[in-house]
């Protein structure tokens, strides 16, 4: 019968006797485990941030940009030619069945003044639908009314950043601000949303009715011109059909012949975000895989040291055999030694991994998320590595001939 507590005691004693070697052997596992944890933390953090940003720009979004992607063989950037109008936006809302909300956008940058404060920010001329398209509630005040939209009233909604910069502690509702020297009444404040996937502050904006933007703030090449049309599909499954419906409708409205290229581009924002999320997922896996290789190398390090240890301790093994150690006593001793090394290495590695992911997020500002799964996974894996790579040296030790082993110098 094998005495497990005694074997553990024997193994721990042997490890204590060779402190330096034990520590060096653990180093491989420590590096491996901490690498796995840090890499997974960075990857998971990146994924989570993209997920949050996806939610912040709104779901099931399509963006219609003017301008041709190809014109007479020369490829043009999207948005280079003004071809979209408020009429297009209204038609999309009316005709396309897969579409829930449509919001035309005419934007520009302008200086905003309140009292003796001024702030340069993006002015977005749009409709009330924009709030639904972007899933963006108001934190105070009210949205534009239909009457204000029709009559191109000088009213505006402010983003939180603009409020902070212009008003300080004052309640902005009902105040008059000047945009390009045109006075506007603040009717509402947009809820704080944070950064978009590109790192831009989404709260640094002022919403005005699109009609007002067209007539009073920005000149237009033709009446009713808009820069972008934002579209929210009814559901994620409707995105593809919405894209098709919009393309067909606009080709018809813009009188584009069969062989001509579109003079607009429909972009599926949600799909782009999903692609970005997918690529971070792949990156996480890749980082994890690379880190696992170092864990594997750490395991091979354990095997290497254990093999050296078996050779070096041949005489000790001989003595143990002579005084009654059985095959499995010897095997377990070396397996438990390897397991102890890898488990202690695992625990230390987890601690170092957690602290280094903290350091990474502090130094580089990357969000890191330490998942319990990655901790269990790397701890379990290091235990497995200990048993797996400890077994061969242990097996070798147990097969020694006691007489030969006792004679070994």
């Amino acid at each position: 019968m094998i005495n497990i507590p005694a074997t553990i005691r024997i193994s721990l004693r042997a490890l204590r006797v060779n402190k330096m070697r034990s520590a060096l052997t653990m180093l491989g596992i420590i590096i491996g485990v901490s690498a796995v944890i840090t890499m997974l933390a960075v990857g998971t953090g990146a994924r989570q941030r993209i997920g949050e940003q996806m939610a912040s720009i709104g779901s099931n979004l399509l963006m219609v940009l003017p301008g041709s992607t190809t014109s007479g063989g020369v490829r043009m950037g999207a948005g280079t030619q003004p071809t979209l109008s408020t009429g297009d936006a209204e038609a999309i809302q009316k005709e396309c069945l897969s579409v829930m909300y449509v919001a035309p956008v005419l934007s520009g940058v302008a200086q905003v003044i309140y009292g003796n404060q001024n702030w340069s920010t993006g002015i977005t001329g749009t409709t009330t639908n924009m709030l639904q398209v972007r899933d963006w509630p108001l934190s105070a005040g009210r949205p534009f009314t239909d009457e204000e939209m029709r009559s191109a009233s000088k009213v505006c909604l402010l983003g939180q950043t603009v409020v902070d910069n212009l008003f300080g502690g004052i309640n902005p509702i009902g105040q008059i601000i000047r945009i390009k020297n045109v006075p506007f009444t603040v009717v509402g404040v947009l809820d704080a949303k944070g950064q978009d996937p590109g790192g831009h502050d989404q709260d640094d904006t002022v919403y005005v009715p699109v009609t007002t933007a067209q007539k009073k703030l920005f000149g237009t090449a033709f009446p009713g011109m808009v820069r972008i049309i934002m579209v929210k599909a009814k559901s994620a499954d409707d995105l593809a059909s919405a894209e098709k419906e919009i393309t067909e409708l606009l080709r018809q409205r813009h009188h584009i012949g069969q062989k001509q290229d579109d003079d607009f581009t429909v972009r599926n924002l949600t799909q782009m975000m999903q692609a970005a999320e997918q690529s971070t997922k792949v990156m996480t896996l890749l980082l994890g895989a690379i880190a696992s290789v170092s864990l594997l190398v750490g395991g091979i390090g354990i095997m290497n040291i254990m093999l050296v240890s078996v050779t070096e301790r041949t005489r000790e093994i001989g003595i143990r055999m002579a005084i009654g150690a059985k095959t499995w006593d010897i095997r377990l001793q070396f397996i438990v030694e390897a397991l102890t090394l890898s488990m202690i290495g695992g625990v230390v590695g987890i601690i170092i991994g957690i602290s280094s992911s903290e350091v990474v997020s502090m130094l580089f500002g990357w969000p890191t998320v330490i998942s319990p799964v990655s901790i269990f996974l790397s701890f379990g894996f290091s235990g497995f590595v200990g048993i797996f790579f400890g077994f061969y040296p242990a097996y070798k030790a147990s097969l020694l001939d006691p007489i030969e082993a006792l004679r070994y110098e």
Binding site: N3, R315, I319, M321, A322, I323, G324, T327
Partner: protein, 230 residues
């Protein structure tokens, strides 16, 4: 019934194409409480015989009865258990675990026997007291003299109450004075505790301590004599 009985033991080593007949039809009987010196020139087979007696090696043919049980055909683990319970080993080079205290060295056989910690400690202390090393349980081998190290080894051989101690040139690494002390310890253990002691030596004055001398030459027992000393 004899404590140890060997019948026609042969041991043949194959070294490549050459076969070496290290033991040829060795038949011996050893009673409980005997003090035996096995002598002979190197290559005479005395060490091979000790290895067979110590259950470290199996004879190629023949019967080895230890307390009436045939151990010649046992497997590795069964032999390990026999070594643990029935045999104590004392080696020329002491063979203590280095960087391990005297206490832990003596404790080792009991760890493999699965004795509880309290009992182990008690027995270690008793065994160290018997060999005259009480109070030195925390010393490591490199802090002990050769004679003291050999005493630790003897304590280790005693601790499991084995009826037989096998000593292979136990005084080979010791000076004359210490050798005599160690031999006197063996004599005392043999006289007081009736432990059967079998030692291999090539020194005549060491063999003088025994009561029976067995000479080997070329794998054969050439003489087996009782000394006048009692």
């Amino acid at each position: 019934m004899a404590l140890i009985e060997t019948q026609n033991i042969n041991k043949i080593y194959s070294l490549g194409d050459v076969e070496v007949n290290a033991l040829k039809n060795v038949s011996l009987s050893i009673e409980k409480g005997e003090f035996i010196a096995i002598m002979g020139p190197s290559g005479s087979g005395k060490s091979t015989f000790m290895n067979v007696l110590g259950c470290l090696d199996k004879p190629t043919s023949g019967i080895y009865l230890l307390e009436g049980i045939d151990v010649a055909r046992m497997n590795r683990d069964e032999l390990a258990a026999i070594r643990n319970k029935k045999l104590g080993f004392v080696f020329q080079g002491f063979n203590l675990l280095s960087r391990t205290s005297a206490m832990e060295n003596v404790e080792l056989p009991m760890l493999y026997d699965g004795l509880p910690a309290g009992e182990r400690k008690e027995k270690v202390m008793a065994a160290l007291a018997v060999v005259g090393l009480a109070g030195r349980e925390d010393h490591h081998p490199n802090q002990l003299s050769g004679g003291q190290q050999q005493r630790v080894a003897i304590a280790r051989a005693l601790v499991n109450n084995a009826p037989i101690i096998l000593a292979d040139e136990p005084t080979g690494n010791l000076d004359t004075k210490t050798s005599i002390e160690i031999m006197e310890l063996f004599v005392r253990l043999n006289g007081e505790s009736h432990i059967t002691i079998i030692l291999v030596t090539h020194e005549k004055d060491i063999a003088e301590f025994s009561r029976r001398r067995i000479f080997f030459r070329d794998g054969v027992v050439v003489s087996d004599e009782l000394s006048g000393k009692t």
